[in-house]
């Protein structure tokens, strides 16, 4: 009975123009974003996946070469290995040092020091400027052979330092320093996390006789673990994507002796210096897989060291 009544109500075709229009309406409103997403994100992503299996130099149409790009990458490309080595070295120092420094400053600012709002803003400034070309140029001036760092060393200790940027042993560490200097963003997140820890836990701990250091180790760190985890994942992803400073400081070469050849810089060289678009696309997909693997591993191991408030077990 109900079905028959429904059929009658919607006419002979079983559909009404008003109802069709109603169904379409949400998609019309979504259309600007959907079009943008398909044309500028999903399309290029799928295209790059296709291109990674081709030989493509922008001038001629892509030629399908199967998995050749990937085979070459893992068997015959020493610069790919070097790029990975540089990037992992950078990450190994940059992520923990930056997080530790950001946490240290956040803990200091969390105490009600006079003018803490001003310092909070001041310490955030490098994060706004740090990724810019101007700061990379400034960094070059600082760590060059005749740069400010060496002048200070000479003036203070009478030591003539090397050109930190031109020395393959030290070049990548100047970039690590530049990244640590941009600690503002994780610091603000740490500060927000610290403010969430109830003060009475510290009071209870001080009644229990815990020193400040023990309070930090046994209360602050475990309760801040979700924030540390969040910051760590973000910084690892950011670290893999680091490009501008290495490009400017090495003049786009990744030198000296490929010592600042970040993965993204190598990818850029393959794409826009040598016009090996297919190979560059394959490099991009491998980077995506590496980042995804790191992130998944972080999430999988997090249950052993991250305490979440809603997990009562």
């Amino acid at each position: 009975m109900t079905i028959a009544a429904g059929t009658q109500a919607t006419g002979a075709t079983g559909r009404s123009p008003g109802r069709d229009w109603g169904r379409l309406m949400p998609f019309l409103f979504l259309a600007p974003w959907l079009v943008g997403f398909v044309v500028f994100t999903l399309g290029p992503v799928l295209a790059s996946l296709y291109l990674s299996f081709t030989k493509f130099d922008l001038l001629r149409p892509p030629t399908w070469i199967g998995t050749d790009n990937y085979v070459r990458m893992f068997t015959a490309d020493y610069r790919f290995v070097q790029a990975l080595k540089v990037t992992f070295t950078y990450l190994l120092f940059e992520v923990p040092l930056k997080l530790a420094f950001a946490l240290l400053v956040a803990v200091i600012l969390d105490k009600a020091v006079r003018g803490s709002g001003f310092y909070r803003a001041l310490f955030y400034v490098p994060s706004l400027l740090g990724g810019s070309v101007a700061i990379a140029v400034l960094w070059r001036q600082l760590f060059d052979g005749n740069g400010t760092v060496n002048r200070v060393l000479l003036w203070l200790f009478g030591i003539q330092g090397p050109s930190w940027i031109s020395n393959p042993d030290t070049a990548v560490y100047t970039l690590v320093l530049l990244a640590i200097w941009q600690f503002g963003s994780p610091m603000i997140i740490f500060l927000a996390g610290l403010r969430q820890i109830p003060q009475d836990l510290y009071e209870a701990a001080s009644m229990d006789g815990a020193s400040k250091w023990r309070q930090f180790r046994r209360i602050t760190l475990p309760l801040l673990a979700p924030v540390i985890f969040f910051n760590m994942v973000l910084q690892v992803i950011e670290g893999f994507k680091a490009f501008t400073p290495a490009f400017i400081i090495s003049g786009g070469t990744g030198g000296p002796v490929d010592s600042t050849l970040f993965y993204t810089l190598y990818l850029y060289q393959e794409a826009f210096a040598y016009f090996r678009m297919g190979y560059a696309a394959a490099l991009a997909w491998v980077l995506l897989i590496i980042i995804a693997s790191f992130t998944s591993m972080s999430f999988l191991t997090s249950k052993y060291w991250v305490h979440y408030e809603d997990d009562g077990r």
């Binding site: 009475d200 009071e203 701990a205 001080s206 009644m207 006789g209 815990a210 408030e309 997990d311 009562g312």
Partner: protein, 361 residues
């Protein structure tokens, strides 16, 4: 067990003084309750004893030793917080053991103390759980357990039952009293709930605006309040205050004419009072009696509590009065009763709210 001595204790934040020279002695094994309205300084006073707030002036001694500058951990005090302050990432066992581990006690001692406290508080089954997986009452027990395991000289409780429901509060009240009897420890307990204070305390300290209004045993405060504030704060429903004037005075009694009509002859000497002086007559609701030939009492509201009936209304002249009648009194709104105020139960307060004296109860 510890003995405490507070001498002229002052707390200031900049120019703002919030505790104004508190003097108090607490004996070994005493259960003292600080009670007062919100903002009266009771928690601040407790935190100063704990060492969590600096003492701006005066002297605090525990067992004769001045401890003004001694850090909290060295005062041999344990505190139970209003929020419980349990470490959320640690199991109940770890929460209980934290202070002992910090003190560097041997593992066997820690284990024994934790298990003994858990048994005493009936939380042995929850030792492996985290606080989030416990009910409010269980968390409260853990918080108390954390204090017990340290075997302190003095226990401090900062409104520990305020987050519990009414039934659990009554249960925990009884358990805390038992615990005090078992441990025979000195305890200071802060609450704004005068029922908690009355039922648990050996001695109640009533505070208002950073000053002690009166300190004494619960019944002492109930029967002989030093002033109108204490009289109103202790007892539920609170004491009735009726304005009047001293109409006549003899060596043995005062006759007080109530505003709006009616008079009460109170059997007490007038002291410094003079005839014609404005006074306040205080009488507890449970002492108001319905009897023929008394004052007309227009009922505006009744509350049936089963065991007794609370009747709200006004006397002639519009003075509010609350009467607590035994049993289930059949009184309706709009009815006019006749009530008497037994003179032997009356309290008299002068124009500044100070008690003139209380007749024998």
């Amino acid at each position: 067990m510890a003995e405490l001595s507070l001498r002229g204790i002052v707390k200031s934040y900049g120019d703002l003084e919030i505790i104004h020279g508190v003097d108090l002695d607490i004996k070994h094994g005493e259960f003292v309750v600080f009670v007062g309205p919100s903002g009266c300084g009771k928690s601040t006073l407790l935190r100063m004893i704990a060492g969590l707030e600096q003492i701006s002036g005066g002297e605090l001694r525990i067992d004769g030793q001045r401890v003004n500058e001694t850090p909290p951990a060295k005062r041999e005090i344990a505190m139970v917080f209003q929020s419980y302050a349990l470490y959320p990432h640690m199991t109940v066992y770890k929460n209980l053991a934290f202070g002992l581990e910090t003190a560097g006690l041997p593992h066997a001692t820690i284990d024994a103390r934790v298990k003994r406290a858990a048994e005493m508080l009936k939380i042995t089954d929850y030792l492996a759980r985290k606080p989030k997986a416990l009910s409010g009452g269980q968390r409260q027990r853990v918080a108390i357990g954390r204090a017990i395991v340290r075997e302190p000289k003095l226990f401090l409780f900062d409104e520990p039952l305020s987050n519990l429901d009414a039934e659990l509060r009554v249960q925990m009240r009884v358990e805390l009293s038992k615990l005090h009897a078992d441990l025979a420890a000195t305890m200071i307990y802060v609450t704004h709930d005068q029922v908690e204070a009355m039922t648990m305390a050996d001695r109640i300290v009533v505070l208002q605006q950073g000053r002690i209004e009166q300190a004494g045993s619960p019944l002492d405060l109930y029967n002989h309040p030093a002033n109108q504030f204490v009289a109103g704060f202790i007892g539920s429903p609170k004491m009735n205050f009726l304005s009047g004037v001293l109409a006549a005075a003899s060596q043995q009694s005062l006759r007080i004419d109530l505003s709006g009509g009616g008079a009460v002859e109170v059997p007490m000497p007038p002291g410094p009072l003079s005839v014609g002086e404005a006074l306040t007559l205080g009488i507890r609701p449970e002492h108001v009696v319905t009897a023929d030939g008394g004052l007309p009492f227009a009922v505006t509201l009744t509350e049936q509590l089963g065991g007794n009936t609370v009747v709200y209304g006004t006397l002639a002249g519009g003075q509010s009065l609350v009467a607590q009648l035994m049993g289930q009194a059949a009184v309706k709104r709009g009815e006019t009763l006749s009530v008497t105020l037994p003179p032997q139960c009356c309290h008299v307060f002068d124009g500044r709210g100070r008690a003139i004296g209380t007749v024998t109860q």
